[in-house]
Amino acid sequence: MKKVFSRPKSLIDRQTHFCPGCTHGTAHRLVADAIDHFGVQEETIGVSGVGCAVFMYDYFAIDAIEAPHGRAPAVATGIKRVHPKKIVFTYQGDGDLASIGTAETIHTANRGENITIIFINNTVYGMTGGQMAPTTLLGQKTTTTPYGRNFRNDGYPIRMAEMLATLEGVAYSTRVSMHNAKEVLKAKKAVRRAFEMQIEGMGLTFVELLSACPTNWRVKPLEGQKRVEEELIPYFPLGVFKERKGKDFL
């Protein structure tokens, strides 16, 4: 019998701590798939942010480090400058990347550091128990926006993939989703493309993955996927916002 589906070599055979319906597990798989696809498991160094993403080192069979909250791109900068031939990626949530680490995100992108950023956008702080994230949608109820996010008080949900696409140092900026099998396959291609461009030395590559957090959204696992499709995508459109062709920037 031909084996058509198995656990990526770069993922440890271990049960994750993620909640039912959470898409971190899928995102982990996609990253491990890209690492395996390019045969760089022993050349890759991962940097995890703070939040539910922090336990990355428990699941990936690669060298890894845990960065202070929001600082993963700066830590990755230090690693990549020492090991320019290694594959370096960060794995960060929305609070980490788009709130406390905004300066590190933007300036690492602007320097065109040749790393890959995997950004999990689930519109909420997961690990701390469901507080407002910079990506929380208007009207969305969280434990710190009990009446729904109101732009007069809380500002607007931030679109990172579009913003980073405006920076010269960014080689690739895309937003994908994981709410059904078809989208997961597209997301897999995007993550692979990001790693491929890093291997080619094109500059910073950024993949925003729309994710479900049913626990903190207070919905059932399947309803979480539905919410991604019906509520998140209309505000956070999927697509490639920038893809550098060739090394014309040099």
């Binding site: 050349e43 080192y57 845990e66 600082r71 700066a74 690693i79 290694k86």
Partner: protein, 354 residues
């Protein structure tokens, strides 16, 4: 080579770092330390190194963290307000046991303060500074020569203990020029670090972290760190002692103040007052032993600092009092039980001489 060259303190420090094999500098401009990044931005690219002017001190220290995690000697430099922003990163470096050099050319504060020389960041440097239960290795140069020498020493100690090290100096030491003997240029090859992240070729993947959630895990980690600090206190205390044999008063001063004290000691001598001096070179570990023993013989100790009394506390702690003081502590989430305390009470109660 014993040739002397005239150098500014900040430049001597930068040259010392290069001599120590440091090829990675990450920093953000702030007065009065700008000569360090300016010099290294020209020097490092010439010798295959990397210089990045980061977007902030927060980013700087985290780039140091990342580079250090990758197995090389890395550094940053700043002054008070910038050092405050680096405390987060230094706490993580201490927690994940990463070496690295942080230079603080102190300026007056609190707040923006000014660029006048001070020793006001003594507490921040010697008490860890950031959150959690940790210490930095802290070295205090008192001359331009020591700016060079202690930069090398700081990297050695930092690697030996896998702990961040800090050079604590001020604008006088950073900005003044003095003749310096640069050790014959030899290529220092920083030690191999088996724990570094290099990709997992030929070995099992490894990781560096500071998060310990399982029961008792953090306390065990804290106690391991404590062992390291105890070893530092035993093996690597540095100080300079002068005229302790026949003096009636002893001055304790570090850095710039110790230089001024030398003149005061001469002036006192002309008046017939014999004054000795202890100059701590490592502020952590603090030279407790020599101060305690000296104070037994010379019970008049004058502490002079450019602040309102910070090292003063360490001197006070060093001098034995008639009251017996004992410590019991549980770090990392451990909570002392009544039984623990009763045990300590019994030990103390039964101690001889009390």
């Amino acid at each position: 080579m014993t040739e002397k060259i005239l150098l500014k303190g900040n430049i001597a420090l930068a040259k010392g770092a290069v001599a120590a094999g440091c090829r990675y500098y990450f920093g953000y401009p702030i007065t009065p330390q700008n000569d360090i990044p300016e010099f290294l931005s020209a020097e490092l690219p010439k010798i295959g190194g990397t210089f990045i002017q980061a977007e902030s001190e927060i980013a700087s220290i985290n780039m140091v963290l990342g580079a250090s995690a990758s197995g090389v000697r890395a550094m940053t430099s700043s002054s008070g307000p910038g050092i405050s922003l680096m405390q987060e990163g230094m706490s993580y470096m201490a927690g994940s046991e990463l070496p690295g050099l942080v230079v603080n050319v102190m300026r007056v504060g609190p707040g923006l303060g000014g660029i006048a020389p001070t020793q006001g960041d003594y507490f921040q440097a010697t008490r860890g500074g950031g959150h959690g239960d940790y210490f930095n290795i802290v070295l205090a140069p008192a001359s331009v020569q020591e700016m060079f020498d202690l930069a090398i020493k700081a990297f050695e100690l930092s690697d030996k203990y896998r702990n961040p090290a800090m050079i604590l100096c001020d604008a006088i030491l950073g900005q003044m020029k003095e003749p310096v003997v640069l050790e014959e240029t030899k290529t220092v090859i920083p030690p191999f670090k088996p724990w570094a992240l290099t990709g997992s070729k030929g070995r099992k993947p490894q990781f560096l972290k500071t998060l310990y959630l399982s029961d008792g895990e953090q306390e065990a980690h804290n106690l391991e760190l404590k062992e390291k600090y105890d070893r530092l206190r035993e093996e690597d205390v540095l100080f300079e002692a002068k005229g302790l044999d026949d003096s009636e008063i002893v001055i304790v001063a570090f850095g710039t103040v110790s230089r001024i004290a030398k003149t005061a000691i001469q002036m006192a001598k002309r008046e017939g007052i014999r004054v000795g001096m202890i100059r701590p070179i490592t502020l952590f570990p603090f030279p407790t032993e020599v101060i305690r023993e000296t104070a037994k013989k010379i019970p008049r100790v004058l502490v002079v600092e450019m602040n309102t009394g910070q090292m003063l506390q360490d001197v006070k702690l060093s001098i034995e009092s008639s009251v017996k003081l004992r410590f019991y502590g549980r770090p990392g989430g451990g909570i002392p039980t009544p039984e623990d305390m009763l045990r300590e009470i019994r030990v103390m109660f039964n101690e001889e001489g009390f």
